[in-house]
Amino acid sequence: MSVLAPRRSTLPGFGLTMGLTLTWLSLIVLIPLAGLFVRSTDLSLAQFWDIVTSRRTLSALKISFGLSFAAACVNLVMGTIVVWALVRYRFPGRRLFDAIVDVPFALPTAVAGVALTALFAQKGWLGAPLAAAGIKVAFTPLGIFIAMIFIGIPFVVRTVQPVLIDLDPEIEEAAASLGASRWHIVTKVILPSLTPALLTGFALAFARAVGEYGSVIFIAGNLPNVSEIAPLLIVIRLSEFRYADATAIAVVMLVVAFVIIFAVNRLQRWAQSQAST
């Protein structure tokens, strides 16, 4: 490391913190993930390919990533509106609503799953009127979608909130004095300033939804090829002692998730470079 080291710094401790960081990340993240890859090499390439391209696996992956993406999109829009209301207006119960946003963070996911299932079941409070309108939520992909929205919303709200609070009101006044309409101020000035935070919130909500298990399996119905998410399929394979199958699916999830998060990260970096002070 002689290339990096011999320069006096006003922030000492680089060696110590870097060492701890690498050790810690290796223990907690890298070694378990590497184990996953090693495990999947028990399979030949052809076997791996067969497992991964089987109809049931592909359906599960499509459901997991597709619905997670859709849920993150909804959270992006609705979360932004919630943040706007919480930050920009003073209304009775604002603090209460602000606290409620965190509930999906703290609630055990199984509890959320049971609650949502009860709510959207055929005879539930929301399920009954929806069923009358011909919409079935519980035990369908729609149910998965709703559970994913539920667990993802705080991520968007909590990442965008501090940025919106810090947004200088003078920016909006400047835009208004230049003749911008309210619509132009929001679309051309405020939203672009929030873009990096919005992307982060989106990525976090998406990642959370992809990895979500507890709340989804209660409401999903878990029909293979219809409403079975990839994490559940992994658990099923494990319970069948088909460990190699499980790790193959897991590796695919890992790679896809990593690629998506990495892409969002790059996008966010780019947006940040456009919006930094």
Partner: protein, 345 residues
């Protein structure tokens, strides 16, 4: 365009920011609002811009009521102390913003917008920065871009809120002269707010001195410096010696001793004698109006500043030319060349 404020009142909670302000600004004038913080100068500027609404009073543009129009409809260029540039837009897009958000019916073509932005960037001498982002500019450059952005919409009035307040001393001085030249070439009625008297006196045609939500004096830089209308103005502008005096029977007394200066019509009672530091003439110890001993001398620039312990019982600081030799312990007599007496302690 002329601007007129009539009886403008504005309170924030229990704080009276503006307490009945009347002001007329002539077409093409460059006016400074000068006052300490909390004097209401920025509030007045924001009310004129339509960013704030008064509790009472009127704002007239060319004799027409401006208060029924919002900031968007007033066609006022506003420059903020902290620039308020759009961080996610290039310099070019910042300047073009006002042109791009115009209603479709009057919006210029892309080519016209480009030409206009180029023209404005040339005007502020920063055309070479068009593709940069605000974060890559120095404070002085940012403020010039903010000015170009405000001018893009061809405002009828230009308002600047402490435009150089966030800049360092050297850049401030450069931009002052630059602003005066710029105003001369565009000739838009302009008002700028400042707490820096030097800035106000050097740049503006007329200076409005404000304190506690009221206008204390309106006049040319010479007027407010040479003939302050109130004790506040005398104390705020320029450096003054202030001595508490008592007027009795047409004579001026300092700590019970009569001073050999005329009361100049000042009413009887507790008053304050104001003398500019450089208006104290130094003479022999047995001459003059006030007497004392030099206790401290510092020299900088063309003057020396001496601290004098008066035998009349106060300590004052005076400015003297450097060729008048002063040593600590010297006993001297002082005579005010000009002075003013204002009622009140």
């Amino acid at each position: 365009m002329t601007i007129e404020a009539r009886g403008v009142v504005k309170t924030f909670g229990s704080f009276k920011a503006l307490d009945g302000v009347d002001l007329k600004v002539a077409n093409g004038e460059l006016l400074a609002l000068l006052g300490p913080s909390g004097s209401g100068k920025t509030t007045l500027l924001r009310i004129i811009a339509g960013l704030e609404w008064p509790d009472a009073g009127e704002i007239l543009f060319d004799g027409e009521n401006a208060l029924d129009r919002g900031a968007r409809e007033r066609h006022v260029g506003f420059v903020f102390q902290h620039y308020a540039l759009f961080r996610h837009m290039s310099v070019f897009e910042n300047v073009a913003f006002g042109l791009r958000v115009q209603p479709r019916s009057i919006r210029k073509s892309e080519a016209q917008i480009r030409a206009r932005v180029k023209e404005l960037l040339d005007l502020v001498q920063l055309d070479w920065l068009a593709d940069r982002y605000p974060s890559q500019l120095s404070g002085g450059q940012r403020q010039r871009i903010a000015l170009a952005r405000a001018l893009a919409i061809e405002p009828r009035i230009l308002l600047l809120d402490e435009p150089f307040g966030a800049l360092d001393a050297k850049v401030r001085k450069e931009l002052r002269q630059w602003l005066r030249t710029l105003h001369h070439s565009i000739n838009v009625t302009s008002i700028f707010v400042t707490h820096d008297q030097e800035e106000a006196l050097e740049v503006a045609h007329r200076v409005v001195v404000m304190d506690k939500g009221r206008i204390e004096q309106v006049g040319s830089p010479n007027d407010v410096y040479d003939s302050p209308a109130t004790a506040f103005v005398h104390g705020f502008i320029g450096e003054s010696i202030m001595l508490p005096v008592e007027i009795t029977g047409g004579a001026v007394h300092l700590n019970g001793r009569p001073l050999d200066i005329a009361a100049e019509g000042a009413a009887a009672g507790a008053s304050t004698l104001f003398v500019r530091r450089h208006d104290m003439l130094i003479g022999p110890a047995d001459s003059g109006t006030l007497h004392g001993a030099v206790t401290h001398v510092r020299s900088f620039g063309p003057v020396q500043r001496a601290e004098i312990a008066l035998t009349e019982g106060s300590t004052i600081e005076i400015d003297a030319p450097r060729d008048r030799e002063l040593r600590i312990g010297d006993r001297i007599g002082l005579k005010p060349r000009h002075y003013r007496i204002f009622a009140g302690g």
